[in-house]
């Protein structure tokens, strides 16, 4: 029974570590600077809209 608990604990810990790492992968990508081309694109789309 103790072993089962230890097993559950280690599974929960692995799950937790996976979640932490997934968050970090996502956060790292999120913290990258957004390329200017997207702001430029939005400005262009907006200008086109305005000239209609």
């Amino acid at each position: 029974m103790y072993e089962d608990m230890a097993d559950d604990n280690s599974k929960a810990s692995i799950r937790e570590q996976i979640n932490e790492n997934l968050k970090r992968v996502y956060e790292d990508a999120l913290n990258e600077e957004v390329p200017d081309r997207f702001k430029d694109l939005l400005a262009q789309l907006k200008a086109k809209e305005g000239s209609k």
Binding site: V25, E32, K39, L41
Partner: protein, 196 residues
Amino acid sequence: MSGLSDAKSVSDPQDPREELPEHLAALRAFALSLTRNSSAADDLVQDTIVKAWSNIEKFQAGTNLRAWLFTILRNTFYSDRRKRKREVSDPEGTHAATLYEKPAHDGRLAMGEFVVAFDQLSPEHREVLILVGASGFSYEEAAEMMGVKVGTVKSRANRARARLCELLHLEEGEDILAEVDRNSAAVMGRSGVAAA
């Protein structure tokens, strides 16, 4: 007192397109999760912005704009992928290899290894793990974005986790004890010979 709202000088507060800049970083992070390649991710974000801009009337006011944008992005990704399914996804080495060279910390899962394993998952598995595990969407929201049932999201997430563990060799116990036994047996064998 009304400083905050005054500072936000939007030309049309009713137009959700004014909010697009706030979602660019998240769109790009999600695109990177799917493509694992910066230039492919940027192209995907670009296509998503153009589609969102020209189809904004299909967005239901009051619903989650980010979820709507993510839906456009992932649908674009999968339809592009179907169109050119034989194309190599990342010929110049993974985005991850250059970005995530971080050392292991206190014996926990090393980030570098984790990222290598993450890259080996299918995009469907990466998608579900990022949506429900990292980007803060609920199973229900993820189900709507992915166009599947909530149960499917849950079982796909479980399979993705299991595959990740498999790639990280997290379920196979390291056979260290067997190794020690063999070595000590050898030592004993030698001493046995010496004693004889």
